[in-house]
């Protein structure tokens, strides 16, 4: 088990490390002069541009730049943003709680709604309940997140007037979390259904029935507990998608998280901020998948007691 955790942590570190390389390369792949692009909106002289180039280390060879960047990253320095010249890490950390609140509440909604829907669809496989649940799920999967957001906004804020349109209180969190949660829940419902159907077809479920156990006991003790392993193992990826989805949703609801920041950075061609965001995103996703991997390992004795 410890070995398993160590392996997962190591894999996460590799991911983050590759992200640092990707992020350094990013600025080099920009066609033209990145400094000029970044400062296109500013009044700058040739000398100033040259100074900025030196300050960012862009006059150095790539490998040199990489090690400089890596060295700074290891000290927790992600550079300064072009717009507003704030330290990138501080800006990200300041915005992150909002994103975290959004994604975690969305994940809870997604798991509760999607998991329940998928489980009962699998249990009532082939009935109208299954058909209804899966129709709902595929419609949910097919709707653009932001459109669902706009519809909810129209319904609850504009028409019914129950919830505010934008802002930063907990009441403002309800709609974005619901939007992201329902959209992801539709995906989770489909995944859960197919995972549970696989489980229901397993020999050991038949054994449990053959023992004459009550249906509910077979369902919860044998099927659901076994089904949790594959279902939880899918959540790591779903969380990554959730984080990705949050970027769009934050913009729909003017929710001041890192996603909104990222889009502004892309528009402003604020490369230090974009680099910082990608690295930050990769780190969060990698660490969350470690947590989720460990959770499912705890559920699966083959890993828990494995070497």
């Amino acid at each position: 088990m410890l070995r398993f955790i160590a392996q997962r942590l190591f894999a996460a570190l590799i991911t983050i490390w590759i992200a640092t390389i990707a992020v350094t390369l990013l600025i080099h792949l920009v066609p033209g002069d990145p400094v000029r692009i970044m400062y296109a909106g500013f009044q700058t002289t040739e000398a100033e541009i040259e100074a900025i180039r030196q300050r960012l280390g862009l006059d150095q060879p790539v490998w040199r730049q990489y090690f400089m960047y890596l060295g700074r990253v290891l000290q927790g320095d992600l550079g300064h943003s072009i717009v507003g010249s704030q330290p990138v890490l501080d800006t990200l950390l300041q915005r992150f709680p909002a994103t975290l609140a959004l994604t975690v509440s969305a994940l809870i909604i997604a798991v509760v709604v999607g998991g329940t829907l998928g489980f009962f669809a699998a249990y009532r496989r082939g009935t109208v309940w299954d058909f209804g649940a899966m129709t709902l799920a595929i419609v949910g999967v097919s709707m653009p997140h932001f459109w669902l957001g706009l519809l909810l906004l129209f319904l609850f804020s504009m028409t019914l007037g129950w919830l505010p349109v934008g802002g930063s209180g907990w009441r403002n969190l309800i709609l974005p979390a619901l939007t992201l949660g329902l959209a992801t829940g539709a995906v989770i419902a489909r995944l859960t259904r197919s995972a549970m159907i696989d489980i229901f077809d397993q020999d050991f479920v038949r054994t449990a029935h053959a023992k004459g156990l009550p249906k509910t006991l077979v369902l919860y003790r044998h099927a659901l507990r076994s089904g949790l392993v594959p279902i939880v193992s899918m959540l790591g990826l779903q969380f990554a998608y959730l984080m990705g989805g949050a970027i769009v949703i934050e913009n729909v609801f003017a929710w001041n998280g890192v996603g909104r920041l990222a889009i502004q950075a892309v528009f402003a061609r604020d490369y230090p901020l974009i680099q910082g965001f990608i690295l930050f995103f990769a780190t969060v996703v990698a660490l969350v998948s470690v947590i989720i991997d460990v959770t499912y390992a705890l559920l699966d004795p083959r890993i828990r007691y494995g070497t």
Partner: protein, 292 residues
């Protein structure tokens, strides 16, 4: 998106015409096929269907509600929303084709080569693919756009590049399964060359899965492109792109909800169509699924 981890249709080789019939008999396949065909027809005949020029301002009054003259109302510049939605289908199809074309081709090659080669090349290649995959499509697309600059064509390319790891992973997993089947070993034992093994034995057995995944992938690509356009990173004014139309509707929701409802509906129906078609094809090609 859920994706089949196992190869499809390994045991059944189905003739193309039979696939079509079986597709029409499965409810999701038939509905999906109908929607996709409708989309193609609309895109091809857009000039004949659209009552107005989608770019012409003041085709009617500004922000007019749906009426006989303007079925889906007009936008803040007085453009006919229905005409814009109709023309938007062309952009949507283009997005789907280009983005999936890029990611499918590159992912297929990558997965095939890694899976066939095995050993160190495979481990490094797939490790890299896994890492990039975990960044998620939207972040990769953002990075690509940060490099390429905003615009619809760049957005398509960005989405195409962003999905390569997904296709590479699927191809790789199918190749691994097929490679371990005795028929592949039988071909080696017969003395087949590398090219023969890859293109005659592996590829035909990978393709059915990729047809399904590619169909479902069109949905993902359309959604992603609409998302980028909504954020202002994709289509630029005055392109009648659905996602972009939605972004201009955001501030007018209470005054002109039709500007928000119809383009969104168009995206949802298109994506639903490709999702249903993908599910339908999977059911047809995978007897195990059909039994469910």
């Amino acid at each position: 998106m859920s994706a089949p981890a196992e190869p499809l249709a390994a045991e059944a080789r189905v003739a193309p015409r039979r696939v079509l019939w079986a597709l029409l008999r499965s409810p999701s396949g038939a509905v999906g096929l109908a929607i996709v065909l409708l989309l193609i027809v609309v895109a091809l005949l857009a000039p004949a269907i659209a009552p107005y020029d989608p770019y012409r301002m003041a085709s009617g009054p500004r922000l007019a509600a749906p009426s006989w003259d303007h079925w889906m109302g007009t936008d803040q510049l007085g453009r006919d929303v229905f005409s814009r939605v109709v023309y938007g289908s062309r952009l949507t199809l283009m997005i789907g084709t280009i983005a999936v074309g890029i990611s499918l081709t590159a992912g297929l090659l990558l997965g095939l080569i890694a899976g066939y080669a095995g050993g160190w090349p495979e481990r490094i290649l797939m490790r890299l693919v896994d890492v990039v995959f975990s960044f998620t499509e939207i972040v990769i697309a953002l990075a690509c756009l940060a490099i390429l600059g905003v615009g619809l064509i760049n957005a398509m390319i960005a989405i195409g590049i962003a999905s390569i790891p997904f296709y590479a992973r699927i191809t790789h997993s199918v190749v691994l399964v097929e490679k371990n089947k005795p028929y592949f070993e039988a071909a080696i034992a017969a003395g087949a060359s590398h090219l023969r093994l890859i293109f005659l034995h592996l590829l035909p057995n990978v393709i059915p899965t990729l047809i399904v995944v590619g169909t479902l992938g069109v949905s993902t690509a359309v959604l992603a492109a609409a998302g980028l356009s909504f954020l202002g990173l994709g289509a630029q004014p005055p392109q009648p792109e659905w996602g972009f139309m939605l972004s201009s509707s955001r501030d007018l929701i209470s005054r002109a909800p039709w500007m928000m409802i119809f383009p969104g509906l168009a995206i949802a129906i298109t994506v639903l169509g490709f999702n249903l078609l993908g599910d339908g094809v999977r059911e047809v090609l995978d007897p195990r699924q059909r039994a469910r």
